[in-house]
Amino acid sequence: MAPKDAKENREVGLVELRRGVLVLAVLSQLRRRQYGYSLRQALAEGGMPVEEGTLYPLLRRLEAQGLLASEWDAGTAPPRRYYRLNADGKHALAELTDAWRAQVGAINGFLGGA
């Protein structure tokens, strides 16, 4: 029982770690316009697979927070809703990028040669 719990706890830790950087990853990919499915593919190809049930609502929440602009493209079949960073989103991406680099430096310092 204990080994299974330990494995579950490790998996929970990994999920938490990914969740923490998901917003940064999404914002980074929305410097060019993407619709939901294409964004999920881009993230997966970049090494960060994300569950669809997590990603698509996140896009709406980021839009509601004023970081993304979106528009329906009726020229495609079927029509797609495309997202991309707006001005506030670009600022947020820059801030998060700086924070991420600082965190990576700190964590690397903690981990040392581990």
Partner: protein
């Protein structure tokens, strides 16, 4: 049901949980995304996008209410951090109402409703003003009722002077208190009561509670066993006083006997025994709750690190 209908049903159930102005927009996007996902899944497996595959996809997506909550998070009616206190208040109220009233179902439902409303309003107010009335503030002492030597000595003396002496000899106490001007013989106790095990047991519980206070006074503080003995003593004493509120009987022949000689005195005294017993039991239960949630204080004297000494 065809694949298209399965997805339509899912989209509809998600959208129903969303605010009206977002429903159709989210539904339109979600529908297309699910079809994209389904096509990709089918292509990866080299099969046609059928109903079973759609059900698998949607199961991975999550329950419609959960998905809707991810699209549009809503505040809980009762904050999760209040669950613990909510349950405690609800249970204490239910137990209290059930003890005080026999047919308590409507009152229990009222109580739960009131507690729910109070906690919902606290959560709402706290979200509106995080630094307002419900923000955390330091408290001076965890257990003000459990002081050191002098409060314990005062409690022991108080218990001896009022309830114990009254219980032992109500007539003598009344005569002393009124300097002999009271009703002569009106508070005399029956022989059956004076010889009863109920009286002996009650005096024993009184003695236990008082002795515990005296020990606390002697050692100038409460140890864990003092607190637990105090709780036991209060609950035991309270239950015995509650027993006095009903006609007493012997263990052998169950024949009821009176406490007081004077006719009608029992009818006057019994509600007061019930009241005193209920208060004492509740005090014991409260002590039990405090003991349950107790956090051991820091060892040794507390040192304030921010103070400076002038001059």
């Amino acid at each position: 049901m065809k694949t298209h209908d399965v997805i339509e049903s899912y989209v509809r159930d998600v959208a129903r949980f969303l605010p009206r102005d977002k429903r159709n927009d989210v539904a339109l996007e979600l529908r297309e995304l699910l079809h994209d996902e389904l096509a990709a899944k089918a292509e990866a497996r080299g099969v046609a996008p059928g109903r079973a595959l759609a059900m698998e996809l949607l199961a991975g997506f999550g329950r419609p209410a959960e998905v809707a909550a991810r699209y549009h998070p809503r505040s809980p009616l009762i904050d999760p951090e209040d669950n613990h206190n909510f349950i405690i208040w609800a249970i204490f109220g239910i137990v209290g109402i059930s003890v005080l009233k026999g047919d308590a179902a409507p009152d229990v439902m009222h109580w739960i409703g009131i507690v729910f409303l109070v906690f919902a309003m606290i959560g709402w107010a706290r979200r509106r003003q995080p630094a307002g009335r419900f923000a955390w503030r330091p408290s001076a002492q965890d257990m003000p009722a459990q002081g050191g030597r002098w409060p314990a000595l005062l409690a022991a003396l108080g218990l001896v002077v009022f309830p114990l002496l009254v219980y032992l000899s109500p007539q003598g106490y009344w005569d002393a208190a009124t300097l002999g001007q009271g009703v002569a013989g009106g508070l005399g106790q029956t022989d059956a009561f004076l010889d009863s095990w109920q009286r002996t047991a009650t005096i024993g519980w009184f003695a236990l509670v008082i002795a515990n206070y005296l020990v606390v006074a002697a050692q100038d503080g409460w140890k864990r066993w003092n607190r637990q003995l105090g709780i036991t003593g209060h609950i035991g004493l309270g239950l015995m006083l509650l027993a006095h509120a009903a006609p007493l009987a012997t263990l052998v022949d169950r024949e009821p006997f009176a406490i007081f000689v004077a006719a009608g005195a029992d009818a006057v005294a019994r509600p007061w025994f019930g009241f005193a017993g209920a208060i004492t039991v509740l005090g014991g239960l409260y002590g039990m709750y405090r003991e349950w949630v107790r956090v051991e204080p820091a060892p040794g004297p507390t040192v304030s690190t921010g103070a400076t000494t002038a001059g």
